[in-house]
């Protein structure tokens, strides 16, 4: 057992690219689901259209990077309106089914052969991150403490990522302290009551859906830039489910819970994954476990964890039981 490697990769995972991407996606989910009670099961699509919007603009049409970012943002907002207008007036579970269907549509279109000249089929798009890394202020080398360090490219992506997370958290903090946030939380409780008090519930839900989508789409940009490529299958429905797990792990309707949840989620995932695969190669586990199927065990644990959390601690790690969105008493 190489405990050193396990330790280093685990610590790196706590601030790594996946944590950043999932934290941003989860902050968006937290705004929509945690505060406003909207069941957007298509968060992956928001990240997907943003990432593809940028990648396609730059890689397919050879337009400037910042225009790509703008188009990615615009695509996210348009998607939010497309999904929101038909469903935000309907019951909560209708939004869930429509968003999950829309996410699947987006993914299937991205990976289709028909549109592969634009989106690149299942291989996706590469060659669009040049301008982003040209802005890299870090000179080549590694940055960090001892073995826990990253090369200059990763460091640049992570710097941008954590700055965006800080801004997003600040935004959520200010909003949720304000009367705007109060209306949102009230809608989560009972939208008819809010309507009877003269608030345009539909408009607030839409604002929450757009805001959550836009925050999440920043994660989409970073996902694409950090890997220097986009593939359709990155944005599968399971991505959204993991974002929900993260929100619930940290505790819904808490400003920092998606961030802590994301870090914890990836630390656990990487730690368990590495430990298990080390144990397999050291021959410490029954022959039932192999290098090939050990990855599945991690995600079994995610599913199990999600169930147990909601059953026994629905308020998450930091949540206040009296204040949670999900009253699973």
């Amino acid at each position: 057992m190489d405990w050193n490697t396990i330790f280093v990769t685990t610590v790196k995972a706590s601030i790594g690219l996946e944590t950043v991407v999932y934290a941003l996606a989860a902050i968006g989910v937290n705004i929509q689901f945690g505060y406003a009670g909207l069941l957007n099961f298509g968060q992956a699509a928001f990240l997907g259209v943003a990432a593809y919007g940028m990648a396609v603009t730059v890689a397919t049409f050879h337009l400037p990077f910042w225009l790509g970012i703008l188009i990615g943002l615009a695509a996210t907002v348009v998607l939010a309106f497309l999904l929101g207008i038909p469903t935000l007036r309907l019951r909560a579970d209708y939004l869930a089914i429509v968003t999950i269907a829309a996410a699947e549509i987006v993914r299937l279109v991205f990976r289709s052969v028909k549109f592969s000249s634009v989106f690149g089929g299942s291989d996706g798009r590469q060659n669009f991150s040049g301008d982003f890394f040209a802005m890299n202020p870090y000179s080549p080398g590694t940055y960090g403490i001892g073995p826990i360090s990253f090369n200059e490219r990763v460091t640049w992506v992570l710097t941008v990522g954590w700055v965006l997370i800080a801004i997003a958290c600040g935004l959520v903090y200010l909003l949720m302290k304000s009367p705007w946030g109060r209306v949102l939380k009230a809608i989560r409780e009972d939208e008819d009551a809010v309507r009877s008090l003269g608030k345009n519930v539909f408009s607030y839900k839409m604002q929450a859906l757009v805001l959550g989508g836009v925050v999440g789409c920043l994660g989409g940009f970073l996902f694409a830039l950090g890997q220097a490529s986009v593939q359709p299958d990155l944005f599968s429905t399971e991505f959204t489910f993991y974002a929900y797990t993260i929100v619930i792990l940290g505790g819904a309707a808490r400003v920092f819970s998606p961030v802590v949840g994301a870090a914890l989620f990836w630390v656990l995932l990487v730690f368990v994954g590495n430990t298990l695969s080390e144990a397999v190669s050291a021959g410490m586990l029954p022959s039932l476990f192999t290098v090939n199927n050990i990855g599945a065990v991690r995600f079994m644990l995610v599913g199990l964890g999600l169930m147990l959390l909601l059953i026994f601690r629905p308020q998450g790690i930091f949540g206040d039981k009296r204040e949670i969105a999900l009253d699973a008493r």
Binding site: V98, I105, M307, F312
Partner: protein
């Protein structure tokens, strides 16, 4: 009640040790077995190139259809099947999948699967290149048949989902895994144990029923008693779905596999429709089960009680119906029928750990199209979805046929949220 939940999770965990996993070899390589409807295909050239496009090696399938290309190290590789070396009457099931991009992990052999199908007689996912000669209406007839085939499977799955939703309000995202469970059971008894598929199917339907019963008895029922909110239960069902899906992956592996029986059935021609006899029989069984369950809902006391509970649980309870008992029976029947749907789905495509999840959205589409919570609406909605998916391939590429169905789902939500047969809800 907490104990019951733990017991159930332990039961799920225990599944892990029920089956023994297939043996896996060491050393990095790409390998696979080319099969067409269960028959090995030999003499097909397969070449492997690195990520940079540099060739790594190639191989030709042997008489057993097997091929293997060792690779120097872990990494991503492009595997290409040379279509010109395929026998004349066999084509790739998906024309765009002649080159696959796969990841080889350290110290492991990676199985690569090329799905083949007889040229011109492929299922829904098949390229229709060689059937160009057949007239437009023949194709429509064929697609209608395939649409019914798919629609009936969706309907079987939708029945349980819709009834559970109607009676308990649970939007069960783990329903797809009930299908996978059924298909996996049938695979286990058919391929591993070696009993004929028909008996394997019967056994897995029974086990599916027990699985449904167990889920309600030791899990959902307990959660309902605790007063868990519907949203919480919905997310719990997502957790359960993830868990089960990866348990299936753990034991079954990532690649799909067919049953041992009925693989190489030659197609028969009925009017303009050509299909393997198993498809006709499967549809007959599906139709029979749907009719029986439908009649049971209409005629039997239990069925009436079930519909009453689905319509208004509080009212049903106050008129002396044992709501919990009815819900338990719905779960049992829903589990058994979903299991059957899974077995049938495994007949028309390979058994894989994702099969239930992949069809779940279509089941949702069928259920919402027909009106959430209405038993017969789900049936009609499902068949419409199945037909729509297959017939839409007349105008849209096969790979996008699901997109059309999902778009229709969204449009129905927009204009008739209560579904085709649903009623407008009364507020206040």
């Amino acid at each position: 009640m907490r104990r019951a939940v733990i017991a159930f999770t332990a039961f799920l965990g225990g599944l892990v040790f029920l089956l023994s996993s297939p043996a896996w070899a060491d050393g990095e390589a790409l390998k696979g077995t080319l099969q067409n409807q269960g028959q090995p295909v030999n003499g097909v050239k397969i070449s492997v190139a690195g990520e940079d496009g540099k060739p790594v090696g190639d191989a030709t399938t042997g008489a057993d259809g097997k091929w293997e290309v060792p690779v120097p190290k872990a990494g991503r590789y492009k595997v290409t099947l040379d279509q010109s070396t395929l026998p004349k009457d066999i084509g790739l099931k998906f024309q765009n999948r002649a080159t696959l991009d796969v990841q080889v992990y350290e110290g492991s052999e990676r199985n690569v699967l090329f799905a083949l199908a007889p040229a011109g007689k492929q299922g829904g996912g098949a390229a229709q290149a060689s059937s160009d000669s057949s007239s437009f209406w023949d194709r429509v007839a064929q697609l209608t048949f395939e649409g019914f085939n798919l629609g009936l499977i969706i309907a079987l799955a939708a029945m349980g989902l819709s009834l559970v939703f109607g009676t308990t309000g649970l939007t069960n995202f783990a329903h797809g895994e009930l299908l996978t469970f059924g298909a996996m059971c049938a695979y286990f008894f058919n391929v591993v144990v070696g009993i004929p598929l028909i008996w394997a199917a019967v056994i897995s339907v029974v086990i599916g029923g027990v699985f449904g019963y167990t889920q309600d008895r030791f899990f959902w029922g307990v959660l309902r008693k605790r007063g868990s909110s519907l949203v919480a239960m919905m997310i719990i069902s997502i957790g359960l779905a993830l868990f089960l899906r990866y348990v299936f992956l753990f034991f079954f592996g990532g690649e799909g596999a067919p049953y041992a029986d009925y693989n190489a059935q030659p197609g028969i021609q009925v009017g303009p429709i050509s299909a393997a006899p198993k498809n006709f029989i499967a549809m007959g069984i599906e139709l029979a089960v749907l009719v029986i369950v439908g009649l049971a809902l209409l005629k039997t006391r239990l069925g009436k009680a079930a519909r009453a509970v689905a319509d208004n649980p509080a009212l049903a309870a106050s008129s002396g119906i044992n709501v919990d008992g009815v819900i338990r029976i719905i779960w049992t029947v829903g589990g058994a029928v979903a299991s059957l749907a899974g077995v049938m789905l495994g007949l028309s495509q390979n058994v894989s750990f994702q099969m239930g999840f992949q069809i779940l959205l279509l089941v949702f589409a069928g259920v919402t199209l027909g009106g959430l919570g209405t038993a017969f609406g789900a049936l009609v909605g499902s068949i419409v979805v199945g037909l729509f998916i297959q017939l839409s391939t007349v105008v849209v590429p096969t790979e996008l046929k699901t997109v059309g169905a999902l778009l229709v789902l969204i449009l129905v939500m927009l204009f008739r949220p209560q579904g085709i047969l649903g009623r407008r809800e009364r507020i206040g």
